[in-house]
């Protein structure tokens, strides 16, 4: 059995892809150090450091992809996308529409996301719902090494723009570089099964837009993505001890959204609990409610999300992010 870390799986899949396809290039700030192995293997032309100019290099990625390359652009943290998001919203996302389907932008934007290590509200956002809102953008959020590798391959192979978000609690080097900095006296609620796990012998692309049922349960359906998936699994275990059978669905991608998987499950359980580290309003949790209602399914609904700017203080941060206690409380609020 082969196991890998979350970060290792991404690098491994990316390395394989780059070895096979010379059109794949990586660029972004500091890629010579954060992608040191890729830099050592593929050299300056394919792993290129940019200035701190998100607008320019995101914009350049769009046309580079239009002209035949397959750029994997690195943004460090997804929070910084706000600085250059015009390239995605008004350009990458709209190219296929504008060109009447004649031209596409096969690019990947790779960035870390999420909180849980005390870095403050400008460096711990998720923003996947924000990006997914724009027609033309795909957004994937893996929760474990196997999905991370497989989805990276699909993201690279996709003919359009894909935002690939890796949660900082899963990819060890972010915690090492941003949070611990060599210290060993701090704790993070890192989901073990997310940070390291089995991976296939050889990487195969995992189709974008297919959710995965991680746990079956007839009483309640939890739908989630990223680190929160693991919080759900833990909550489900605890609920089971109290006789409540809660299912857990890992969406794996926000856009496209696997509405079938969600509807199938909620139809059976009649209870939908969305656990989402993104902002509560006008985002993923609302969309899932709409999907269920549109399908004509009558269900109880609750959501555990981030409601406001994420506090810096780790204690309040922990309360602001979806956690097992909040999930259990929300679950108990759904009528029997």
């Amino acid at each position: 059995m082969k196991t890998m870390s979350f970060a290792g799986a991404i690098e491994d899949a990316l390395m394989k892809a780059m070895s096979e396809d010379p059109r794949i290039v990586v660029f972004g700030e500091d890629v010579h150090s954060i992608r040191m192995n890729l830099f050592a293997k593929f050299g300056e032309m394919r792993v290129r450091s940019t200035p701190i100019s998100e607008s320019a290099f995101l914009g350049a990625a769009v046309t580079a992809s239009m002209a035949g390359l397959r750029p994997v652009v690195e943004l460090l943290m997804i929070d910084f996308v706000a600085v250059g998001v015009d390239a995605l919203v008004n350009h990458a996302a709209k190219l296929e529409g504008f060109s009447g389907g004649r031209w596409k932008a096969p690019m990947v934007v790779r960035a870390s996301c999420g909180g849980g290590y005390g870095d403050g509200g400008q460096h711990e956002q998720s923003l996947w719902g924000w990006l997914a809102q724009i027609p033309g953008l795909k957004v994937v959020v893996p929760s474990n090494p196997a999905d991370a590798g497989g989805l990276m391959l699909s993201a690279i192979q996709d003919e359009g723009p894909v935002i690939y978000l890796e949660h900082k609690l899963l990819a060890d080097y972010w915690i090492d570089g941003l949070a611990d900095g060599g210290r060993t006296n701090l704790d993070y609620d890192i989901p073990e099964a997310g940070a390291r796990g089995e991976v296939p012998r050889t990487w195969e692309p995992i189709p974008i837009g297919e959710a995965k049922v991680l746990r079956d349960g007839n009483d309640l359906t939890m739908v989630s993505v990223g680190v929160s998936v693991h919080r759900c699994l833990e909550a489900a275990t605890q609920l089971a001890e109290h006789g409540v059978q809660a299912g857990v669905i890992d969406l794996r991608s926000i856009a496209p959204l696997d509405t079938d998987a969600v509807c199938r499950a909620v139809e059976r359980t009649g209870r939908l609990l969305v656990v989402d580290e993104d902002y509560k309003h006008f985002s993923l949790s609302g969309e899932l409610a709409a999907v269920v209602m549109e399908a004509g399914i009558t269900a109880q609904f609750a959501r555990v999300c981030v409601e406001d700017t994420i506090p810096f203080d780790r204690r309040r941060e922990a309360e602001a992010l979806p956690n097992v206690a909040r999930i259990l409380e929300a679950a108990s609020g759904l009528r029997a």
Binding site: A56, G59, A60, G68, L69, F98, R102
Partner: protein, 342 residues
């Protein structure tokens, strides 16, 4: 090397005639909403695009028509696109600010400044896949204050990208005089960002052609980006139906509803008398600038090129007739297509 006076003239003449036809279609209501012409900047576009060959890329802004016409995009496809027809260049989905031609590696954007990053991406792809090929970015002087454009000059110079940044300076951004909102100096700014930079009379196609030639050679040889700063005038204002030009051209009709509120605002409350006088002075200046552009006259680049031609008047008439026919055919094809659509 010398440019071909005829080729350049033909390009400019074609673009001019094409845009005149577009103006007519627009006036007749066949084209919706905004329409920004390249009229007045033909010499800049012709002098640059003449060096573009297959594999080179074009990053365009809201005045993308002339570059595509001169690059050889089918005129009927363009008009049909402007008219929103399914058989237009982009199947009627993009419109005149969002023109795309994959065959020509030509992409447009209505977001001011976006052509800078776009050219960098094209040029980066050229470094990998088409060595010796370049990317051209067209934009106005107002765009020089857009962060992403400045970033892209720096990126091009840091990565030695083969980009020609072409700044068409008409001194105005919509109705705002660019010198009132621009600090320093654009040439110095470009140099401070690492680009070679050169200033040009953008109504002289030969001057543009020669400067562009150097820039293309440098870029193709790996010498990095060049910034061409070329002056011009937009005789039709910012867009067709420019509100300021309408006032200048039909003051009685257009001012009727405006004057009373303006005078009321200018005479009651608010700032001091002298500040108000300054504001009114600015407004009058604004109209003055519009009417000056309207009387472009001597600076018309197409007119300027005519005496340079070495062909006879009859030959020129032939050339013009040929172009006229091409434009008319395109218009006719587009109108037929519209009619067929019902």
């Amino acid at each position: 090397m010398q440019p071909s006076a005829e080729v350049l003239y033909r390009q400019m003449y074609k673009s001019r005639r094409f845009e005149e036809a577009v103006t007519e279609l627009w006036n007749d209501g066949h084209i919706s909403a905004e329409m920004h012409l390249s009229k007045g900047e033909e010499a800049i576009v012709a002098g640059v695009v003449d060096h573009v060959t297959d594999g080179d890329a074009l990053a365009l802004e809201h005045r993308g028509t002339a570059p595509l016409v001169m690059r050889g995009v089918d005129l009927a496809l363009l008009i049909k696109e402007f008219m929103g027809l399914e058989d237009g260049l982009c199947r009627g989905m993009g419109g005149h600010m969002h023109l795309f031609s994959p065959e020509h590696l030509a992409a447009s954007s209505g977001i001011v400044g976006a052509s800078g990053p776009a050219a960098c991406g094209f040029a980066f792809a050229a470094q990998h896949l088409r060595p010796g090929k370049v990317a051209v970015a067209f934009f106005g002087e107002g765009a020089m204050n857009q962060g992403m454009l400045m970033e892209s000059m720096n990126l091009a110079s840091a990565w030695s990208l083969p980009v020609i940044f072409v700044c068409k300076d008409n001194g105005m951004a919509i109705t705002t005089p660019s010198n009132e909102v621009t600090g320093g100096d654009l040439l110095k700014r470009a140099r401070g960002l690492g680009a070679h930079a050169i200033s040009l009379d953008g109504t002289d196609v030969n001057e543009v052609w020669r400067a562009a030639r150097e820039a293309f050679v440098r870029a193709r040889e790996g010498g990095g980006p060049t910034f061409l700063h070329a002056t011009c005038v937009h005789p039709d204002g910012h867009l067709l139906g420019d509100p300021l030009l309408r006032i200048v051209r039909k003051p009685v009709r257009e001012l009727k509803s405006r004057v009373a509120p303006l005078m009321k605002a200018a005479t009651t409350g608010g700032s001091s008398l002298s500040e108000k006088a300054a504001s009114l002075g600015s407004i009058v200046d604004m109209l003055g600038r519009a009417s000056k552009a309207d009387r472009q006259g001597a600076s018309d680049p197409v007119e300027q090129q005519r005496p340079q031609l070495s062909i006879s008047d009859a030959q020129r008439a032939d050339l013009e007739r040929e172009v006229d026919a091409e434009v008319q055919d395109a218009v006719a094809a587009a109108l037929r297509s519209k009619e067929a659509r019902g």
